[in-house]
């Protein structure tokens, strides 16, 4: 006589155990603030950048390098690049949280940080090169 075979269950952990899960990560507030602060700083920086690009329309490299060599312009440019990529990183984290589940989640989140970090760094180096690496003025 065989006992009736009970159906197989993948998960028999209690609902409360599942709801508590791994507990709180005790983070997220910093990210939430950073997302909003970077959005707010991007507004004036982007406006400034658009105005400057219209002013520099048609300028040659020497003129742009001269413009980018001024400390205020270089600072604003670097701030724009850093804010942009920081904001992009924050936003992409959220997209990964929403759409990437399971084993791919952690690598995707780290990947986003790596790629946006490298691209942001590239932008900063370009700004520094423009600002500091200016060829000597022509005689």
């Amino acid at each position: 006589m065989n006992a009736p075979v009970s159906p197989h269950h993948d998960v028999m952990r209690s609902q409360l155990g599942r709801a508590r899960g791994l507990g709180s990560g005790h983070s997220g507030t910093g990210h939430w603030i950073a997302e909003r602060v970077s959005a707010a700083t991007l507004l004036p920086l982007s406006g400034w950048f658009v105005v400057q690009m219209f002013r520099l329309g048609g300028a040659d490299y020497e003129e742009v390098a001269e413009w980018g060599g001024r400390p205020l312009n270089a600072t604003m440019l670097a701030a724009l690049v850093i804010s942009s990529f920081y904001h992009a990183e924050s936003g992409l984290q959220v997209i990964v949280d929403d759409y990437v589940h399971g084993k791919a989640h952690v690598p995707a989140k780290l990947g986003v940080r790596f790629v946006t970090g490298i691209l942001g760094l590239l932008g900063v180096v370009a700004v520094l090169k423009l600002a500091l690496g200016r060829p000597a003025p022509k005689a």
Binding site: S14, Q15, L16, R18, A19, R20, G21, G23, S24, G25, H26, S27, G28, T29, G30, H31, W32, I33, V94, D97, D98, Y99, V100, H101, A104
Partner: protein, 260 residues
């Protein structure tokens, strides 16, 4: 990864048709989701023609009429029929609401009724809310105080302190909001959802509770709290007219306040 379509065993087919009785004057068509765990068949939408002159004004009246007089196999939850028990929460005409509070005449065309979205189905319109109930329990929705209560009575609260609970104590835990939330559909295993966060805020703002900081600690998590994307479906759909999105915003405000 991203789910763009229903799983193969969840795609909904065409079901049975139950015509109106002869002589019915005001006929309304109800299309209702049917699924049973007793066979391996996919869910279907059954079509019922209901004589509105024979029943009361609410969608729940129609469901009870269908079960009593047309098709006794139809399964749904209901109890109080006056919007206080939260049992008859379902998706009616594309919106999560309580069948007992939803007037049939408020809708145009066929009335389409589905169970609360994106939850496991027990049968027909009965969705499994075990996970959401456990999430509610995980935020410990009861008063936690270390000071002894006054020996001669209850813990007292000023009129102003009591007023802070308005808009939250009224929640009947029907989970219309939680199951309307895309963020909960995506991450319901980690995100607590609007109903539970509203309940959490109810205890965070309670002047008699002394564990506010612990409560904020346990909520500060990329998913538990911060998976809220302020989509606002919760506030839009709440059949009691409450504002879970505002409660979630308040929790976030407090999290920021104690960090800066």
């Amino acid at each position: 990864m991203v789910e763009l379509r229903l799983p193969r065993n969840s795609t909904v087919g065409q079901g049975q048709f139950f015509p109106a009785p002869a002589g019915a004057k005001t006929v309304r068509v109800f299309k209702i989701y049917r699924w049973t765990p007793d066979d391996d068949k996919n869910p279907v939408m059954d079509t019922y023609e209901v004589d509105l002159d024979a029943i009361g004004p609410m969608v729940l009246d129609a469901l009870i009429h269908i079960k009593n007089d047309i098709d006794p196999t139809l399964t749904f939850r209901r109890s109080c029929r006056e919007g206080i028990c939260g049992s008859c929460a379902m998706n009616i005409d594309g919106e999560n609401t309580l069948a007992c509070l939803k007037p049939i005449k408020d809708m145009k065309g066929d009335v389409i009724i589905n169970p609360l979205p994106h939850m496991p189905i027990v049968k027909d319109l009965v969705s499994n809310l075990d996970g959401a109930y456990a999430q509610l329990r995980s935020i410990e929705p009861w008063m936690k105080a270390d000071s002894a209560p006054p020996p001669d009575g209850e813990r007292r609260q000023s009129i102003e302190e009591r007023a802070k609970l308005d808009g939250m104590w009224e929640c009947i835990l029907c989970f219309c909001c939680t199951t309307s939330c895309p963020s909960y559909w995506w991450n319901g295993d980690r995100y607590l959802g609007p109903a539970v966060l509203l309940a959490a805020n109810r205890w965070i703002v309670d002047s008699r509770d002394e564990h506010t900081g612990d409560r904020l600690d346990s909520l500060e998590d990329t998913f538990k709290l911060y998976a809220c994307r302020t989509i606002m479906n919760c506030t839009q759909t709440c059949p009691k007219g409450l504002n879970p999105a505002k409660a979630i915003g308040h929790i976030k405000e407090l999290q920021v306040e104690r960090k800066l």
